[in-house]
Symmetry: C2
Subunit: 210 residues, 2 copies
């Protein structure tokens, strides 16, 4: 397998964690987002969205969208399971991950912040947009798992929810979001980062880190 | 079951189609998005994100995030199947739906456009933001299914991908996006809207339509 990523991409970070948890090897290639390499003509056939990650399988099939890639890896390499067996819990895990992927990350990623700059906004306004998006979004995520047992988002083992949460909390700190009112999220993050599969997937540990 | 929705919400529209395809009845309640009813204190316990849809099950469990709700309905009421059996095709269907939910809809929905207005942008700038987001995103979606057989996004029957596509094309027209270079998307839409399950879920057919 071949994974196209970028060290600071939250979405690529999710897939790196999944590969590590399942003990899967992939060749890593990098597309430098700030240089626009994800929109190069040689890469667009792999991911027409011009985004990372993309996971290219042995037969050449390219899979896109990090949450879909993680579920594919979970279905084809089921040990350890990243999705609960119960349909209601599966739905809640997916909803938590989608709340991060759709309403937080997609609204505060590099592409959106670049569009805001192109509209003439200064650093303060752009950073406030990212900060507010993350702060409001994570507060809702805290509420979504308030009744779940820990230490992970949904119980005693990591799920897709934790794979989405850890990269988003990394982003939260880049934008100085105060997380003290999010004890469940912080507990899930601490339990996750105690596992090498998570800590070794961190942006600063990647070969393309700057 | 109880579905909280809004006639023009793309995300609620996806769930309405799924309920119709599976012949499931739900009591419909409405949260008027332009009046902010989705952020009322009586609703936030149901969906801490302050968004529609939310599907409340018979035991009171509230499910959120439309794609997670549709997969839940598909797992618990498997006829007709909305997800392919093959893991690679499942991943491609999920990726297509997430490309719409994350990179298009989440970036051009009412909430984001309201934030742009609050930053001082006029109608022309706000509408251009929505237009460009949809046009670029749907062009990528066209490429994602270019090699798939039709008439639906992924083959001879509707999947989660079509449930995401039809509401997004509805939005595309609201923002005057030219779709003539998207023949596969238009074919999938036509095949979908020929089915009462899709056409009866349309915004203008809902009791809260204005």
């Amino acid at each position: 397998m071949l994974l196209y990523g970028y060290y600071r991409s939250s979405a690529a970070y999710r897939v790196r964690i999944a590969l590590n948890l399942k003990g899967l090897q992939a060749e890593h290639r990098f597309r430098h987002l700030r240089r626009g390499e994800q929109r190069s003509v040689d890469y667009l056939p792999t991911n027409p969205q011009g985004l990372v990650p993309a996971l290219v399988l042995e037969d050449g099939t390219a899979l896109t969208q990090s949450l879909a890639i993680v579920e594919y890896l979970d279905e084809t390499h089921p040990t350890p399971r990243l999705m609960p067996a119960d349909p209601v819990q599966r739905a809640r895990v997916r909803a938590f991950a989608q709340a991060i992927a759709c309403e937080i990350h997609a609204v505060q990623n590099l592409k959106i912040l670049s569009r805001l700059r192109a509209l003439g906004h200064d650093d303060a306004t752009v950073n406030a947009w990212a900060h507010d998006t993350i702060a409001e979004g994570l507060a809702a995520c805290e509420a979504l798992i308030a009744q779940e047992s820990g230490p992970f988002c949904f119980g005693a083992r990591p799920t897709l929810a934790d794979l989405a949460l850890v990269p988003q909390l990394y982003n939260a700190r880049r934008f100085n979001v105060v997380t003290t009112a999010m004890p469940r999220l912080l507990a899930a993050e601490a339990a996750s980062l105690a596992m090498p599969a998570f800590s070794e997937a961190a942006p600063e540990r990647q070969p393309d880190a700057e």
